[in-house]
Symmetry: C2
Subunit: 355 residues, 2 copies
């Protein structure tokens, strides 16, 4: 029996407590300042209102002001805030951390820095920790196709746990692996984080098809646009490989659960897909986002963070001038409301295997 | 202006005449003995009853007994029969072929031989041609995500034309490429044919999820099984890579349109998906197939042809004993009605990049 303190009581952070609780661990679920209503519901009714499900008996809910009570003695500290909340999380946990603790980031992806570079979110978190503790804790992250509601329903979910410090991965796997939660391990933290960030952006491209169909007069024979979506899916995967290699990650990550698997599942639904459909119908991004108030669209955040950094890398000669044509075109579509058309001839020019 | 004679007036063969007709070529569409009603409709009303669409003005329909009139002077002969009809097609066209003609196979995939080996369908066709002409014609094939009804609706469709004789590919691309039909070329005929065959088989696995959900009591929070499907998608792609490499094909084919793109589009719907859903609900294969009479389920044909050959390759030491666990488990599920469960631990052990 070990102790897990999960900071952030959103859907994914909470869902991850289910397999750990099923394994008999002692779990503390700490809401952020955005999660007060969730924690109240969890305390009073043992019911998570967003997951729409009872929380496991082994999970104890706490408000964020109670974090000092439940963080120092945890073997594992989960970070389940949204991707914009990582700096806040570093601040909130920093003073309570103890040497030897393992931080498991449910929050994942890339952030753009002020000077236009890209940083992995685990590194952003680490930078935000006090210098005295920063190098005395270990950080791991999760990639792969994992819809929170399905994990909480204890349905088969297959993921990759990753850390630059590979020695902590067996401990984490033992804590979370169950007959429904299948865990592979990898030290390719870079590859996993790049895949996670980009799958949201490419889902915006794949999801355009549904809206484009709706914007046209109905086809007499009922034709959809799956061929179009599939080509963008394949090109998206090729571009993920390009950026993963550029940043020093590995192809085995792109072409397994964190890349192909997660891009597949993300394209099946969710907020990125809903926004893409609105764009496909011809809405501007600013109009579309008004239809989805108070929602973080991770694909948009990823585009806005990543594409300027890519343009700088191209200007600096670190990436080919014709690299990542789909991602860069999506940026134009979103930020300048350019028409939804693609130069298909620019696709599939840079497969990482040689041609 | 060139002449295309397409043998087989099913959905895909006919759809392929649309871009060629739009390019102004002279097209003859020859029905097989199974296509008589289609050709009658095309002659009398210029309407293809399965595509539910008018055929282009440049397309002239013919019955199969008229093949001698329209085949010898065609620059390109298309083969659009179903995958079981390739030997018939070889017999039907063999005596009418002329040296220098290009055969473009819309029909694609693998066939199991009597002694348990696997053959590419273009090679099966070639074997069926008279010896005098066999080496005096060129053979090409098509891979990639291409739903026929969408191509006939002139919606963006992206494919790979492939041939061992790369010098014929520019001619073919010029004949078919349009602003909506995007063609890449490749000499990896082996990779394309293996991808085409296997995507149908793996779609059977991905599609189980929908039926499994229906077979359970509805989840109170509405959880589906997309995580399960996505893991099988990713493992399917990894196994396609294993078999492509085993047969001498290239990874660039697996991780672009013919592999990832086509597996994606095939999993969005169609006959393989419908059958998989019935299996997922708990039906035996023999019961499920009765719900879909007169339909060729290509994923089943692929499983039945490929898995026995794989078991032989494993026994002969040519493939690892633990290779292709998902494909082999699907074979057990289909042929022996074994339960739908998978040894997830057996997955992702053999990514082709090293780990």
């Amino acid at each position: 029996m070990a102790t897990l303190t999960m900071v952030g009581a959103g859907m994914m952070g909470t869902a991850l407590t289910f397999p750990a609780a099923d394994n008999g661990h002692d779990i503390r679920l700490v809401g952020t300042h955005l999660d007060t209503a969730i924690i109240e519901s969890c305390r009073e009714q043992r019911f998570h209102p967003r997951l729409k499900r009872e929380i496991p008996a082994g999970v104890q809910p706490y408000f964020h002001h109670e974090i000092a009570q439940v963080l120092p003695d945890a073997e594992v500290v989960g970070i389940g805030v949204n991707s914009r909340g990582v700096a806040w999380a570093a601040e909130a946990i920093g003073q309570h951390l103890r040497p030897g603790q393992i931080i498991l980031m449910v929050t994942k992806g890339l952030a753009g820095t002020a000077d236009g570079d890209l940083r992995l979110l685990p590194d952003v978190l680490k930078d935000g920790l006090p210098a005295a503790i920063r190098n005395r804790v270990s950080i791991a992250a999760i990639g792969g196709p994992s819809i929170a509601g399905e994990l909480a329903a204890r349905r088969h979910t297959s993921v990759v746990f990753t850390s630059r410090q590979g020695d902590i991965l067996p401990t984490l796997r033992d804590m979370f692996a169950t007959p429904y939660y299948h865990i592979w391990t990898s030290t390719d933290l870079v590859g996993v984080e790049v895949c996670v960030a980009l799958k949201n952006a490419y889902t915006l491209a794949v999801g355009l098809a549904a809206g484009l169909v709706e914007a046209q007069e109905a086809d007499s024979a009922g034709a959809q646009m799956h061929n179009f979506a599939a080509a963008l899916f394949a090109q998206g995967l090729a571009e993920i490989a390009t950026l993963v290699q550029h940043m020093g990650g590995g192809l085995e990550t792109v072409y397994s659960l964190p890349g192909a698997g997660d891009l597949y599942v993300t394209a099946q639904g969710g907020r990125n897909t809903r926004l893409a459909r609105l764009l496909g119908r011809g809405m501007t991004y600013s109009d579309a986002i008004e239809e989805m108030p108070d929602e973080t669209i991770e694909g948009i955040d990823a585009l806005l963070a990543i594409v300027p950094a890519i343009e700088r890398a191209i200007q600096g000669g670190k990436l080919a001038a014709d690299a990542l044509p789909l991602l860069r075109r999506m940026y134009q579509i979103v930020t300048r409301h350019e028409p939804i058309d693609f130069d298909f001839d620019s696709f599939f020019g840079q497969l990482p295997f040689g041609q």
